[in-house]
Every structure is written in C-alpha cells, then in structure tokens.
C-alpha cells in the first residue's frame, strides 16, 4: 500500500433513528465503489452490514458494523451503527471513535427520537456533523421541510451541499452546489449517472446555497472575510480550503441527499466524503490521561502507537475480534505485541483486519486514524487503551455506556443449560457493554439487565443460537423484608416422649422492633451458668434461619428486629 498518511484517512459513523436507511446507504456505497457486484437489500437479509442472523431475522441492525472503502488513494472507514433505542450505547461509541458523524434523516419521516439522540452524542463528543436526507425517491419525500426542521431543531449551520432534482417517482438526480453541476440518474438502481448543467428552474436555489456556503466558509480566514465583504470574488482554491476548515470546526454542517435503494447521488456523496470530510489531522489532538495529567495525542505516524478498543465481537466461527481505533503512531503485525495499558498485559498480534461486515482482509501495518479489527486478543475489553510495551503510557477516557433500565430474572431450562449458563453469559457480557448480570443475594434470582425488552430478547436468542443454551425469563422477585411494630414475648415448648429417650426444650424469647435499617440482632441475656452453654447456639441458629423465613414465608425475606433470648429451661 506504500507509506500511508493519516491525511488520507476518513472515518464516519452513520447514525440515525432505526429505519432511516443507514444500512442501505452503506450497501450502496460499497456497490458504487466497486467493492460488491450486487446491492444487498435489508429485507432480503443479504446486506454486508447486517450479517448477524438476529439482524437478518429482524431486518434491523443490532450492533455496529465496520466497512472499509478505498477510494482515490484514500481509506474510508464507515461505521454503520444501530438506530433503535435499545442500542444507543453502540451509537455513542461509534460517534466517539469516528471523525465525523453522518446523521441520516428520512425525507419522509423527518426528525425522530433517535435522530435527536444522535445529535446529542455528536455534540457531546464534539464530532463534526454531516446530515443526509434519505429516501428522496419515496412518496411524500419533502427535502425542504426536513432541511428547515434540521436548521430549527439542531443548528442553523446545516447548509445544503446537494439539492434533489425532483422527488418521489420524479426524482432525477442531485445538484452539487459546490461544483454547480447536476448529476442525472435513471431510477434503476444501477448507479449510472451523467453530469449535466444545473436545470434552469433550480439555478437560483443552487446559487443561493452556494453563496451560503461561501459566506460561512470565509469566516475561517479573517483576510478572506474582508475581501469577501468588500465584494471581491473568492477563488475556488480559497473557498475549498476554508470550506474544509468550516466543516471540521462545525461552522458548516453539510446537508447531502439522495436515495440509497435507487442508488441516486451515492457516487457524489462518496466523492464529497473523500474530498471534504476532515481527516484525523484536521481533527487534531485527542485528549488522554497519564495518571492525573492531561496528554494531547496527535495523529503522528512517528509517535508511539496508541489505540482505543471500542467494540468486541465474539463470533463462534471467526472467534473473538477486537475493534480498535488507532490515534497515534504506526504498528506492524509482524513480530510485534500489543500492550494493554490498562491491564498491563502484553498480547501477541496475529494480524490486523480491514473489515467489511463479517469479512476481514489482512493488512500488515496500521497507522494513526485507522479503524481495524484484531483477532484473538484475550484480555482486551471495550474502553481499554492499547499501545506497545514501554511506549505510550497514557489512557484514553473510558467509553461510556448507558446504564441498564430493564431487568429480568433468567432461569436455565435444563440442568445442561444451567452448566453452560455462566460461560455463555460472560462471553455475551464481553461483547455487549450495555448489559449487566448479577445474582441477587437476597432473592437468589439471576438478574439480567439491559436497555429494553427487545435488547434482552435479542441477547437470549443469540445465546441460544451460539451456545445452544435456553434461558427462560421471569419478572425478578422483590427482595421483601419484614419487621415487627411492637414488642411481644413467647414461650416455645417442645416435648416428646418416644420410647425411652425423652425430648424436651423450653425457650422464652422476646421480640422487639429495631430502628429502620438496623437489621437483625440476637441477644442472649441468660444469666451466666443458668443453662448449659451448648444449647444456646442451636437457638441462635434457628432464630437466624427462622428469621429469614418467618411470618410472610416469602423467599429470601430477611427479618429485621431484635430477638432477646432470655430464658431457657430444661427438665
């Protein structure tokens, strides 16, 4: 591949509400770039991104897929993040490691809940944003309305770079307002297009959109700004230079459009990404921490190597794949180890893989800015910083995942399932950071918690498919407790004459409430020597056990009060 440079790398996360068209767009990009010979269809379960059987069955994306595209000497890393609310953790992580967030908004459905969440994450991670108004071929597609809503709800910096020519079944193509050219398509999915002049009835709109871009771009350069205000014309070169700067700094959030399934405008979008999306160098320093000290990490290929693991995939066939984003340096897979800064473990690298859905292509060397997968790392988990031993000693901030909000108790169906449960769950937890598992010490329930019922459902069917283990779910039990409100005393007398051996026990116990939260207390207040000591432990043990299951007899119910054992007699 020759000496690659981070200047030639583009990475972006496709994010949106579920169903906005991310997976279809990714599919069209691969096809337009000549990397597939046929466009897959989400409904047919044959797209490159949705390769997991649960994704194909449900026709939605569940976890982030990485697609690598090579175009005009540049490397493009696309992360197709799932859109449904149950998987927002994946979306946030994808935006964190990609250099640009591409937020898709359906031209029909407009802004939806998860669109806003994508926007919030992009703001939170300070990621440059490009909007893509999708599905322009659909009936009732309304570019202008969706654009106005984006400006209103998100940012006035959203400025169109592409304008659709027609819409719905009359969609003809797009106008690129930077180049001031039209690209005309047949609506046949082949992606074949012809370049043409901007249609006369769109000339005004295109000129206005172009002017808006120039006006915002020149703000990046004071001298140029003055020239512009004085009415001088701005050269294409100056415009493009400042436009790139404005995009990297969020002064301009380009708005693109087209149709993924009809393959309209996708070629131009890929060119736009290649030419105008910020490279890791444009993004600049990333923050890391060496102890309490802040460190600025630059995408310098000669600096010590550092990377962040943002996703782990456990595939029963491929094995474990750790997805990493490199932030600095260069690393070769030959004879090197990778050092887990967090764990202090040195691990052997077998290869680096440029991923395209489930398929990986080996690559010998990776550089700052790359997003690749490494097979078979043992101790590396999501959020861990990787480096080389004795090299970069800092840690990148941990990747945050939302806290689980929905819990079920899981019960193994059979004894065999029970034996396999621990292993299957720990493997699943490694992959899915928004899942937790815990045995409730009071109710003894095995509680699995996630982001919603769909999430839990998917986790369970995946475990069944991969590890052959079946788990039933129940509503978790409430860890009830009991107490008493007043003091009472009671004698308990057991007497049994069987054969020659007599059994006799007679105890007096006082029960009294304790203050809230004080738990259980057993007090032995028998005057010393009154009874043989060896009977007392039996009473105490029974009190404690019995205390756990007393009046309500609810499982695991702890009894909270003071038990004063004050008299015991024996015949």
């Amino acid at each position: 591949m020759g000496a690659r440079q981070p200047e030639n790398t583009r990475s972006f996360a496709l994010c949106a509400h579920g169903g906005a068209g991310k997976t279809s767009l990714a599919e069209a990009m691969l096809f337009c770039n000549g990397q597939t010979t046929r466009m897959g269809v989400v409904q047919n379960g044959n797209t490159v991104s949705d390769f997991q059987s649960e994704e194909q069955k449900r026709q939605i994306s569940i976890s982030t897929s990485l697609l690598t595209l090579e175009r005009k000497g540049k490397m493009l890393f696309a992360l197709d993040a799932p859109g449904f609310a149950d998987f927002t953790g994946e979306m946030s992580a994808a935006i964190r490691v990609a250099d640009t967030a591409v937020i898709l908004v359906s031209a029909v459905g407009g802004i939806e809940v998860q669109t806003s969440r994508a926007w919030e994450y992009a703001e939170h991670h300070n990621a440059p944003v490009t909007f893509y108004i999708s599905k322009m071929d659909r009936e009732n597609a309304d570019f202008d309305k969706v654009l106005a809503d984006i400006k209103d709800q998100f940012s006035p910096n959203a400025l169109p770079v592409f304008l659709p020519i027609g819409s719905a079944e009359k969609l003809k193509g797009i106008v690129d307002v930077i180049k001031n050219k039209a690209y005309l398509y047949n609506l046949d999915g082949t992606g074949k297009f012809t370049e043409a002049e901007v249609p006369a009835d769109m000339a005004d709109a295109a000129a206005k959109a172009h002017e808006a871009l120039v006006e915002a771009a020149v703000e990046m350069d004071d001298e140029l700004m003055e020239k512009y205000l004085e009415g001088e014309s701005i050269s294409d070169q100056d415009f493009i230079r400042t436009l790139k700067k404005a995009i990297a700094s969020k002064r301009i959030m380009p708005v693109l459009t087209g149709s993924a399934t009809q393959n309209v405008g996708v070629h131009q979008m890929l060119d736009f990404i290649t030419d105008y999306f910020p490279s890791p160098v444009d993004i600049g320093a990333i923050e890391a921490f060496d102890g309490d000290n802040k460190v600025e990490v630059l995408p310098d290929v000669n600096a010590p190597f550092s990377a962040l693991c943002f996703k782990v995939m456990v595939d029963p066939y491929v094995g474990k794949l750790s997805f990493i984003r490199a932030y600095s340096g260069t690393l070769s897979s030959e004879g090197t180890n990778i050092y887990n800064v967090k764990k202090g473990d040195d691990e052997r690298i077998s290869s680096f893989k440029l991923m395209c859905g489930k398929d990986g292509k080996d690559v010998k060397e990776i550089i700052a800015g790359d997003i690749v997968a490494i097979p078979k790392l043992q101790s590396t988990k999501v959020g861990h910083t990787l480096a080389t031993k004795g090299g970069a000693g800092y840690l990148f901030p941990h990747i945050e995942f939302p806290k689980p909000v929905y819990s079920v108790a899981v019960v193994a169906k059979t004894r065999a399932d029970e034996d396999k449960m621990g292993n299957a769950i720990s493997k699943t937890l490694e992959e899915d950071r928004s899942l937790t598992f815990e045995k409730n010490p009071e109710t003894h329930d095995n509680v699995l918690s996630g982001m919603g019922d769909m999430h839990i459902d998917i986790v369970l069917s995946r475990m069944k498919e991969r590890y052959g283990i079946e788990l039933e779910t129940k509503t978790p039990q409430v860890p009830y407790r009991e107490t008493i409100r007043k003091t009472a005393e009671a004698q308990g007398k057991h007497k049994k004459q069987s054969g020659g051996h007599g059994q006799y026990g007679d105890v007096y116990i006082r029960y009294s409430p304790l203050e809230r939260g004080a738990g259980f207390e057993f007090v032995d207040s028998i005057k010393g020597g009154a009874v043989p000591n060896n009977f007392i432990p039996a009473v105490e043990r029974t009190s404690r056990v019995h205390g756990v299951r007393s009046f309500s007899r609810l499982p695991g119910c702890r009894f909270q009060s003071r038990i004063i054992f004050w008299k015991l007699s024996r015949s």
Binding site: V478, T483, K493, G517, T542, L554
Partner: protein
C-alpha cells in the same frame, strides 16, 4: 433438636403477637421527558403507588423526581417508552425500605404461600 423446635414454636407465636409487617424496597426514580408528557408521567406514578418528590426544567425537557416501590417498576422502561413515544428516559436507584400497605402485603403473601407449601 428439641431446642430448635422449641425456638420455632416461640417464633410462630411471638412474631404474630408483635404486629409483623412486610417491607419493600423503594426506589428513587428520575424521569426526563419533554414538557407535553409531564402530566402523563405524573399521573402514571400515582397509579404505581409512587410519590412525586420534585420537578425541574432543563430547557425543553422536564425532570421529574419521584419515589416508587421496586415491585411497581419492573416494566417501567417499556411503559415510559410507549407513554412518550420513546422520548422519555429514566434512571433508578435504591433508596430505602418501607412498609407494604396491608392489603397489598396480603396479596403478596398469598401468592407465595402455595409455592412455599410445595417446598416444605
């Protein structure tokens, strides 16, 4: 053995004489929703034996702080999502134990009694 049985006999009687009550965990719940769902969210808390502890505005969003028994909250993620078309989010943590109202305690105990007898 005899003392074990004697202790159990004392317990059975003693605790029933000492006004036993059932306690349940109460959760602190924080719900964030757009303005227009405030009424629904608050009304819903009433129906789950909850109480509203406070409200705060955060821009276009409202944060409702409430307390409710854990027993009423297991499906809240699903309920809140459908009540607010997915716009609401919440977080929840354990706060303290409180007495279960007598009528509900009766039901809870009755529901478990059968299971328990099978076990004994």
């Amino acid at each position: 053995m005899s003392f074990k049985l004697a202790t159990r006999l004392s317990f059975k009687k003693g605790i029933m004489d000492a006004s036993p009550v059932l306690l349940e965990p109460i959760m602190n719940v924080e719900v964030t929703v757009p303005d227009q769902f405030m009424g629904d969210v608050m009304g819903d808390f009433n129906s789950r034996r909850g109480r509203i502890m406070g409200m705060e505005a955060h821009g276009k969003l409202q944060v409702v702080k409430a307390q409710a028994p854990l027993a009423e909250m297991f499906r809240y993620a699903i309920i809140l999502r459908s009540m607010t078309s997915g716009e609401g989010t919440f977080s929840m943590e354990y706060s303290h134990y409180e007495e279960v109202p007598a009528d509900i305690a009766k039901k809870v105990i009755a529901a478990h009694k059968k299971e328990d007898e099978e076990e004994e």
